[in-house]
Symmetry: C2
Subunit: 450 residues, 2 copies
């Protein structure tokens, strides 16, 4: 597995009726579907036909203030992913849980359970929460600051991983004759007592099929990238251009060595929003059609939120006030995207209106409109030239945008031999070419399976 030839990885990232903020207003998109499990099940069947590695559900624990203008993101990830596990057999299932407003025992257990239900397809997108609205649903006060959140996250992840290891792989004997279900000597209390948590363990579930569900992260700050290098196995990132992607890729991969890790142990997947047409003209028309549905006041809301500044105070058709925003840069929250937008506006000399439009399809992720060949070309280039190990595929509108991607771009990538034509393994670790981790409590060698 580990030694086989390098392949591109494709993760499907879905939100509401698609990533373009106005997608839900398009013909063929059904805003009332976003609370229905069958809607997601249909998308996932398509993704599995396309042999995609995984599905990702982002999450936060607060209602966005822009709910007037934009459909809900999705249902709750643990419940929805578990439901989706049942109609599928291969595709990985990546859920989000925040280390700031959850407890490690619940998180360890729900991911372990999802890993059992899906027979080895669970992954955890580790986030620290970025908005005060979430904080007010849990704590009655604002978010802890950025570095404090990351300290807590490290302890949290450590506890969760030890809980996943708390049963050795061979702990269950299920010996009906002798009446021994499990060997208590192979089940370990973790006896954690730290700055933020006190957790005795063991987990009340056996070690999950993957040993440990896969760890995903999307840190963009210095602290975030260091965290990824130390603890993540997959990194999501938003990059405006291949050049930016190359810088990020080199940066994060270079950090691995100091943790004794090799570059293949961490996969970097930038977001990629493709507006697909059989001809370039058709693709551009679709883009115009999407942009036509944008609501300016929503765009202003969104930017104001991100920048923590009332953006309606600035003229729509004059340049984004990048100097003012840069001075404010020490905002406690979504650092990554904040800097990305300011940089984009500076480089392309965008007006406020243009920034709204340019970020409407993909919130700062790379976005292009083109033919399947053009899109496959761009993906292959990023992948060959050190900007990506694969992509977070972000259909701008659903379900059609996904059907076009799976029906037209995937075969193009398969024909080029850079993407699998069939699943080779059954677990998400196998799709990504990640080793099943040894159990820290187990006898060395016994629990590693390639």
């Amino acid at each position: 597995m580990h030694a086989s030839k390098r392949q591109l990885h494709l993760n499907l990232f879905i939100m509401g009726n698609g990533h373009h903020e106005a997608a839900w207003r398009m013909e063929g998109c059904r805003p009332r579907d976003v609370t229905k499990a069958d809607y997601y099940a249909g998308l996932l069947r398509t993704a599995e036909q396309g042999k995609l590695d995984s599905l990702f559900l982002a999450d936060s624990y607060a209602l966005p203030p822009t709910i007037r203008y934009k459909v809900l993101q999705s249902l709750e990830p643990f419940t929805l992913l578990s439901a989706l596990a049942m109609g599928t057999s291969r595709i990985g299932l990546i859920g989000t849980a925040s280390t700031t407003y959850s407890h490690p025992y619940h998180v360890a257990r729900q991911f372990a359970s999802l890993d059992f239900i899906s027979e080895g397809r669970a992954a955890w997108n580790i986030v620290t929460s970025t908005n005060d609205a979430t904080a007010y649903n849990f704590a009655g006060e604002r978010l802890p600051d950025h570095s404090e959140r990351y300290l807590r996250a490290e302890e949290f992840v450590d506890v969760v991983r030890r809980l996943w290891d708390s049963w050795e792989d061979e702990a269950i004997l299920a010996d009906q004759d002798q009446g021994i279900y499990a060997d208590p000597e192979r089940i370990h209390a973790i006896l954690h007592s730290g700055e933020h948590f006190s957790v005795r363990g063991p987990l009340n579930l056996p070690r999950p099929p993957q040993g440990q569900p896969v760890r995903v992260q999307a840190g963009a700050s210095e602290t975030g990238k260091e965290f990824a290098a130390k603890l993540a196995e997959v990194v999501f990132t938003a990059q405006n251009s291949m050049a930016d992607g190359q810088l990020f890729y080199a940066d994060v991969k270079a950090r691995l060595a100091k943790y004794g890790r090799s570059p293949e142990e961490l996969k970097i997947l930038p977001g990629f929003c493709a507006i697909i047409g059989d001809t370039e003209a058709e693709a551009k028309e679709r883009e115009v059609e999407l942009h036509r549905h944008i609501q300016l006041d929503y765009g202003l809301h969104r930017l104001s939120n991100l920048f923590q500044t009332d953006m309606s105070a600035f003229p729509l058709d004059e340049p984004v006030p990048v100097e003012f925003l840069s001075r404010q840069a020490e905002v406690n929250g979504h650092r990554g995207r904040y800097a990305l937008y300011v940089e984009l506006a500076r480089r392309e000399k965008l007006t406020v209106r243009e920034l709204i439009r340019q970020t409407a399809s993909s919130r700062g992720h790379y976005s292009m409109a083109g033919t399947p060949v053009q899109i496959a070309d761009e993906m292959e280039k990023w992948w060959r030239e050190g900007a990506a190990d694969g992509f977070n595929v972000m259909p701008p509108y659903l379900p059609a945008g996904l059907e076009q991607f799976v029906g037209k771009v995937v075969p193009e990538l398969q024909n080029r031999g850079v993407f699998r034509g069939e699943y080779e393994g059954t677990t998400l670790r196998e799709h990504y070419g990640l080793l099943r981790p040894a159990n820290r409590y187990g006898k060395a060698g016994l629990t590693v399976s390639g």
Copy 2:
């Protein structure tokens, strides 16, 4: 619905390979199945063929100290019930969540999400946690005391219900032309700031299909019964005999009036463990076969745990030390079952060995071995004579015990006209004949649907 003729309700309560603690050692029971979703899916298909009202999964957040002797109870409830929602269309799904070691925003959201996924079949078994092992996985110290736990539970339930109401039923407009997804004036912050929680709201999901998922509880103490009368819609209970059941039933129903509630607004479901044979002799043989697999040291563990006393210090074949145990009665924990066991031992003058045997099938719940007609007779009697509105059906071994119940006892109850031959509604509220609650924020009348 509300006015139609009174019917018996049947909830399926499953644990591991069945409720008898030695079930997993029987031929036909597969201990390795308890971590597989397909195993539960198969059981649920059988239950739905039997038109049962619901499935119940009990839960705690700690590994039982007796894992050597007995299979795991199940996977994690939110993930497992969501998976099970997908292969079924009618049966209700009751999950357990503790108000002592969870947060109301997560609980409100996961049940709301399950209610969407199942299209109106979710219910919450509200528990306060009863063992210190759970406490040590969350808090590094022992359980808060009983009354403190119930105070926290009241506040918790109140917050959860307000979150479920935080979107009015008509809040989603999904107006693609105007670009209005939801009407912010119909979505309400709950602004809760209480003794235990500070939660601003609103929930980040619309009001669930049932308005509010059904509330289930199993209080046995004075405080617990008062809580049930005030807040529960379904009550589980363990009763040794019909006479005890009648006392409990009358007691709890009589408490409703002071909260302005009528007796039909709360359904009482005692546990019922049936060992079924085509002849009485066959049923008794099955019981002997089950008991043959009991492990004495497991039984001692179990009793020691419940009584928080080392029971191996007492001779196996001498009477249970009921006086000693009664003096200890102020144990901070499982009060209900503690008292039940002491009472059973006192009344039936049981030795320690006999108490182990008598409680092995159903942990204090009513248990009988008999023919389908005898079992239906007993159930009908409890139901007609004021001991029950229905039952928590507890198959002693799985899957065969459930197949026998659905194949033989259910048709007997249907023939007598006391149990439905077909589902009449689609939601769990409809199965139980419980009204869909009006939204406290909505316009009166609009949100009530029979």
